[in-house]
């Protein structure tokens, strides 16, 4: 029997008032009209809990763009799920937050595009977004929701990391996620604009280590280091098909948010197939589950149950083969080349390609 998943990410919508150039949504965004309704989501939450999911992440796009967000939170709590809202804050008001509180929302994760309005509004592509976010953060604090601040960092704003740590303390966050941009989705298109230098990546690691020691017991810091500058890949999703699953706005169930970039995989919809059956039987979930699918050098590597060969989507994007060793691994034959490309991306400069609204082909260009 396949071990049950622990966490489910529900991409309630791909709509979003922001346009971050590193958005992890797929390039092919699901239109609003194709989104599932409240009842479908509520049923999927129950199926998830029955399957063994404990943690539910309500994400997007911007989940607050869903008018039924409060009902969805209530449905998730009724199913017994620990319910986390991943939001930019835009679209939340004091009244809505109070309703989410009454519905039983467990935790809020607030994204930070920058630590001042000039940076944050330029990255998110929406003027006034930063001021709005600070107001929402204050209201979150007033209600007393446990708060995680999620600072997404890249070449343009890595110098703001010390201030992001201060902000987490000022806003009363219990956790800070320092997430260096992962190059999937829109970020892959923006590598020339976003890739940090090796030196920047190293410095960020030091700042995090120092802050962790200094703030022990006050602030928990989770750190996602830069993608192309490390020696070993990340254990993506805890291993393909092992601990988590994603549901796209239209009900498509994915082993990870970027899985649709791998050609030849067939995904099933939770609208048509029970979640438990998808988890156990969908060939896309079984394709890279465990270690049997691996080739060398992963097959005989002692780390293979630690990182499961890294990220399949990254192997696809960088090696052209989803079954290859993630090229961010030093043991990959492509690693030296990747390191050189990382330097080139870091030294390059380019305007952002912003992600557009779902259904609109052309992304805006900007500084």
């Amino acid at each position: 029997m396949t071990r049950p998943p622990i966490a489910m990410l529900a991409e309630l919508t791909h709509r979003c008032p922001l346009a971050c150039p590193y958005c992890s949504n797929p390039l092919d965004l699901v239109r609003g009209a194709a989104e599932m309704g409240t009842e479908d989501w509520a049923r999927i939450f129950r199926e998830a809990a029955d399957l063994g999911v404990l943690q539910l992440h309500l994400s997007g796009g911007e989940p607050a763009a869903r008018r039924d967000l409060v009902d969805l939170v209530a449905a998730a709590r009724a199913a017994g799920l620990y319910t986390n809202l991943i939001t930019s804050g835009i679209g939340l008001t004091a009244a809505r937050l109070a309703a989410l509180d009454a519905a039983g929302l467990d935790h809020v994760q607030l994204s930070l595009q920058g630590t001042d309005a000039a940076m944050a509004d330029a990255i998110g592509g929406l003027e006034g977004a930063f001021a709005r976010k600070l107001e929402v953060a204050r209201q979150i604090g007033e209600i007393g929701f446990p708060l995680t601040l999620n600072a997404v960092l890249h070449r343009r704003n890595l110098h703001q990391l010390p201030r992001a740590i201060e902000m987490a303390l000022e806003l009363g966050a219990r956790r800070l996620e320092v997430a260096t941009v992962q190059f999937h989705g829109w970020a892959l298109r923006n590598r020339d604009a976003l890739m940090p230098s090796r030196e920047q990546a190293r410095e960020a690691g030091q700042i995090v280590a120092e802050a962790r020691a200094r703030l022990r017991g006050r602030l928990v810091i989770d750190y996602v280091p830069a993608d192309y500058h490390g020696d070993y890949p990340k254990r993506c999703m805890g291993g393909w098909g092992s601990t988590g699953l994603n549901v796209a706005p239209d009900g498509t169930v994915l082993p990870c948010h970027a899985a649709q970039t791998i050609p030849g995989l067939e995904f099933w919809s939770a609208r048509a197939v029970p979640l438990a059956r998808i988890w156990a039987e969908n060939p896309a979930f079984n394709a890279y589950r465990g270690t049997e699918w691996m080739a060398e050098p992963c097959r005989s590597c002692e780390r293979k149950t630690k990182d499961f060969g890294g990220c399949r989507c990254q192997a696809m994007a960088l090696a052209g083969d989803a079954g290859a060793t993630d090229p961010t691994c030093v043991k990959s034959p492509l690693h030296a080349d990747l390191a050189a490309r990382a330097e080139a991306h870091a030294a390059a400069d380019a305007a952002f390609v912003f992600r557009p609204a779902p259904g609109r082909e052309t992304a805006g260009q900007g500084a």
């Binding site: 049950p4 622990i6 966490a7 029955d50 399957l51 063994g52 404990l54 943690q55 017994g80 620990y82 986390n84 467990d106 935790h107 994760q109 007393g144 929701f145 446990p146 995680t148 219990r174 956790r175 022990r216 017991g217 006050r218 602030l219 928990v220 989770d222």
Partner: protein, 92 residues
Amino acid sequence: MIGPGEVPRLPRGVRVQPDRVRGGWVLLAPERAVTLDAVGQAILAEVDGSRSFGEICARLAAAFGAPEAQIAEDAGGFLNALRERLFLEVSP
């Protein structure tokens, strides 16, 4: 280390519930799910936000027929680890 007169409690956003699929109990916290063994579950079952650590140890010692000093050491270590991860608050 948590003192005998201090009162531990689970802060908002942290809860313990049965895992109805895998069996046993889990501690659920922001971005984390921690499987509890029988000992951990027994300790957290005593954490109600009003009992002091000393009282908790006395109750566990009675329930398990173990020396209180031993219990204090084990439970103290367990609760401190949770406190460090901000899964537990302690008030004087």
